[in-house]
Amino acid sequence: MKTTYREAIRAALADALEHDERVFLVGEDVGRYGGCFAVSLGLLEQFGPERIRDAPLSESAFVGAGIGAAMAGMRPIVEIMTVNFSLLALDQIMNNAASLLHMSGGQCAVPLVLRIPTGGGRQVAAQHSHSLEGWFAHIPGLRVVTPATLEDARGMLATALDDPDPVLIFEHASLYPMTGELADDAGAVDLDNAVIRRGGTDISLITYGGTLPMTLEAADKLQDAGVDAEVVDLRTLRPLDEKTVLESVARTHRAVIVDEGWRSGSISAEISARITESVFYELDAPVARVCSAEVPMPYARQLEQAALPSVERIVAAAREVVGTHG
């Protein structure tokens, strides 16, 4: 069936609400408005205000309420309107959701799912455009996932709801209109493994989330230039599927990491470190990275585009690493 990333998530939400009475959705404008990105459009009419809960602009209160409800046996799905707003709930996410199980000696599990749109490219400037998923991947106790395909948009939510611990789903806002074919019986997918989206022998392009489509496009361009690139979709930033990444690099002997987050202290830095820690002697060239420029995201189109990873930058970085200039 033909569908979009947005509709795939909506179908996953409807499925969960229908099959598990412990599930409810809470967030700003998820009900009557239909969701800031129209993901939850129609769910209020279908499931009622008790389970599709519009919340006031109180990220800390409604994320914390989700944590409390999860501790008491519910399966809340909390939507934060956009990633920069998640900082208003950082206390609850870090000090409670991620910590309660350990500091209670295993008593307080928090089966919470947070859905957070992330990323830039829409000219919405410095307070609505960042890619902070790498920060959250720093925190033990959380699982951080980044659906980049229709299958993952459809399937990650169900697995996240089955997880006894907090799962943060980062949906890149530029992916919502992505259209394609999805199997009618598409369902839950695993959250443990990275996936090789395109096999190749010359270089590993390692990415996740919003930069997957452009990385695949870059791989096609590289093919035209005689470079056979492998594309690894991390899918889950924490816990990292190190094995898939390292095996790929050990085969291709070269790596470029594409990450829309800022370069310093980023998930790309972490992956680069793990590559050098574990497969250093397999490398034929230094690891390279394509990240966002280290600026608050600007509004002007040409400036924003210059700040973000692009097909051209990925191709250039890969050619540099492979040593095929010009």
Partner: protein
């Protein structure tokens, strides 16, 4: 039949003895903690509740086993009054496996799901949103439970307090907010930190019933908590009590207490809730010297037993350091 006392207004002896025993247990338990801290046996932060015992003892007596509790980092009193065994609390202070949080939490993070005690939160106001969620879950599951959420006056300055009260009122959640106003947020006096110091007034701006109670009077605390909890349980939405109290000791055992006047402390100590209850009971002929001696003996033995239990407890092997980071028991790098 002649009588000179209105029996209906007299304190029930069993109730009085129970409250006195509870407050004495908290007091003696914490005095032992000071001793153990001084000798280096327990470490970390230790926030004493001495002076505030009437609140934990009175409030917990008014709650049921179905109710949920959210507490703060000053929580030994709440935990003991809720019925977590002194042994398990002391073992937690010692960092032992037998502790109520397996030694992972310490003084500030006591948990016991058997008594629905959802822990001490050491981020001021960080527990309020959790209380909303516990209450929401109970309400969605059709349980008639109240979530009692303790916090201090310092929390009222935090954004999370205002977010939580607004949301609780908006959604009509069965939460009882119990604000222990001891007049100081660590070293900062209430009137140096908050433009409006009438805390019940501020809570009432969120359209919830809110009133102030003498937190040094254990009977008043119990009565007020019972009335408020019953109203919440009956579907009246969130309620707020400001319990006016004072900590006799410094903020924590690290604190040199330079910011309070000796006279102020002395005046509050004269209102010691343990002495106040004893005097009331004695005036009504409800308490003998033997009763007091028996309570002291009983409580001293309980605390001594808790210390022995904690000493004999086990240290978790460091090989299980990463246990419980995730529920499947393993570390995920």
């Amino acid at each position: 039949m002649t009588t000179t006392v209105d029996a209906t207004r007299m304190l029930d002896r069993d109730r009085g003895l129970d409250l006195l025993r509870q407050m004495t247990l908290i007091r003696r338990f914490e005095e032992k903690c000071v001793e153990l801290y001084s000798s280096g046996t327990i470490r970390g932060f230790v926030h004493l509740y001495i002076g505030e015992e009437a609140i934990a003892a009175g409030a917990m007596r008014a709650l049921t086993t179905e109710d949920a509790i959210v507490s703060t980092y000053r929580e030994h009193g709440h935990a003991l009054a809720r019925g977590i065994p002194a042994r398990a609390v002391m073992a937690e202070m010692f960092g032992k496996v037998e502790g109520c949080s397996g030694g992972r939490g310490g003084s500030m993070h006591l948990f016991d799901l058997d008594t629905r005690f959802y822990g001490g939160n050491a981020i001021v106001a960080g527990g309020l949103p959790l209380a909303l969620g516990l209450a929401l879950a109970d309400s969605m599951k059709g349980r008639k439970a109240v979530t009692a959420c303790f916090f201090g006056d310092g929390a009222v300055a935090e954004g999370e307090f205002h977010e939580a009260l607004n949301l609780a009122a908006l959604w009509g959640l069965p939460v009882l907010f119990l604000c222990e106003n001891n007049l100081y947020a660590m070293g900062t006096a209430l009137d140096r930190a908050q433009a409006q110091t009438d805390l019940a007034l501020r809570a009432s701006s969120y359209e919830m019933p809110a009133w102030s109670v003498d937190g040094m009077d254990v009977l008043a605390v119990e009565d007020a908590t019972r009335a408020a909890a019953e109203a919440v349980r009956a579907g009246g939405g969130p309620h707020f009590l400001e319990l006016r109290t004072y900590r006799f000791r410094a903020h924590s055992l690290y604190d040199p207490d330079r910011y309070r006047q000796k006279d102020e402390i002395r005046q509050w100590v004269q209102r010691d809730p343990l002495s106040a209850l004893k005097e009331r009971m004695q005036a009504e002929d409800r308490l003998t010297d033997d009763d007091v001696a028996a309570i002291e003996q009983d409580v001293t033995a309980e605390v001594a037993d808790a210390v022995e239990y904690a000493k004999a407890g086990h240290e978790e092997p460091v090989t299980s350091l990463t246990r419980w980071v995730y529920s499947d028991d393993g570390a995920r790098p």
